[in-house]
Symmetry: C2
Subunit: 160 residues, 2 copies
């Protein structure tokens, strides 16, 4: 691991812990923080074998997507920027014609309106899509799933 100070070039620091971890607030909290356990969200199947579990922030959304073997997110475009992070398994990603197999540790950056799609064949895949701003077409779904998860958390455990 490289120390930040060793990275300085021409005397210019690339960042420092003191300013990064500043405790000086220049604004009011934009809302309460919250914890979410993704496993408490019931996945919604958007297409066969393609499960969506969106988690909504104010400026960004993360959507936890599971691909069963042989599932496909067809090539498409949208205005929201997307960052794809593979968490488990693998899938084939088509980034505007640059087709690669992505595994854990692989990330794809998809700027606004760049065509992309993904599919699995033999393997499953779990990945998270970061959308900035939140993906418009998933807002209702995210709200409904969050309400359902909250309800399940508050409900007394059902008798066996």
């Amino acid at each position: 691991m490289t120390d930040v100070t060793q990275q300085a070039q021409g005397g210019e620091s690339l960042g420092d812990a003191a300013s990064h971890f500043s405790t000086e607030a220049h604004g009011e909290p934009a809302g309460p923080g919250r914890y979410v356990n993704v496993d408490s969200i019931s996945p919604v199947e958007f297409l066969p074998g393609l499960g969506f579990r969106p988690v909504l922030g104010q400026r960004a959304m993360t959507n936890f997507v599971s691909f069963e073997p042989g599932a496909e997110a067809p090539r498409h475009v949208h205005e929201e920027e997307q960052i794809v992070i593979v968490l488990d398994g693998e899938f084939t990603f088509d980034l505007d014609g640059d087709v690669r197999v992505m595994r854990k540790g692989d990330v794809a950056i998809v700027p606004a309106w760049v065509p992309h799609g993904a599919w699995t064949t033999e393997s499953h895949c779990l990945e998270v899509d970061v959308f900035c701003p939140p993906r418009q077409s998933l807002l209702k779904l995210a709200a409904a799933q969050a309400a359902q998860a909250e309800e399940a958390e508050q409900a007394p455990p059902s008798e066996a």
Copy 2:
């Protein structure tokens, strides 16, 4: 898994695959897409045991953070919204006083200016912080690490 159509309430759909996977572009691509392998980025140690590997988009940034046992990201605040996703191991997260142990599958939403911090004791932790907009204090670092990773990729393999 629940089908989207089964989720419809009062006849209102929560989303549909046809509009989600639209191929109709209403703008020009905002830039070329790109792939990044996080393992190709040399982590920079911001504080002892705390390694940062930022991946920069245009509107959002993801920072892959590794905590060795006994590492700490001190309580701090910032303007950028943050979504924390634990990938491996565990750490203790302080979300404005709500202190919890987070593991794989746990997510924390940190709106602008909400105080937060995190630490490990016995365990290690690998997590990804999503920032929207990109975290200002990490921009130079992200650019330097990206340049270094690209250089390493283009350099001929060194002879043993």
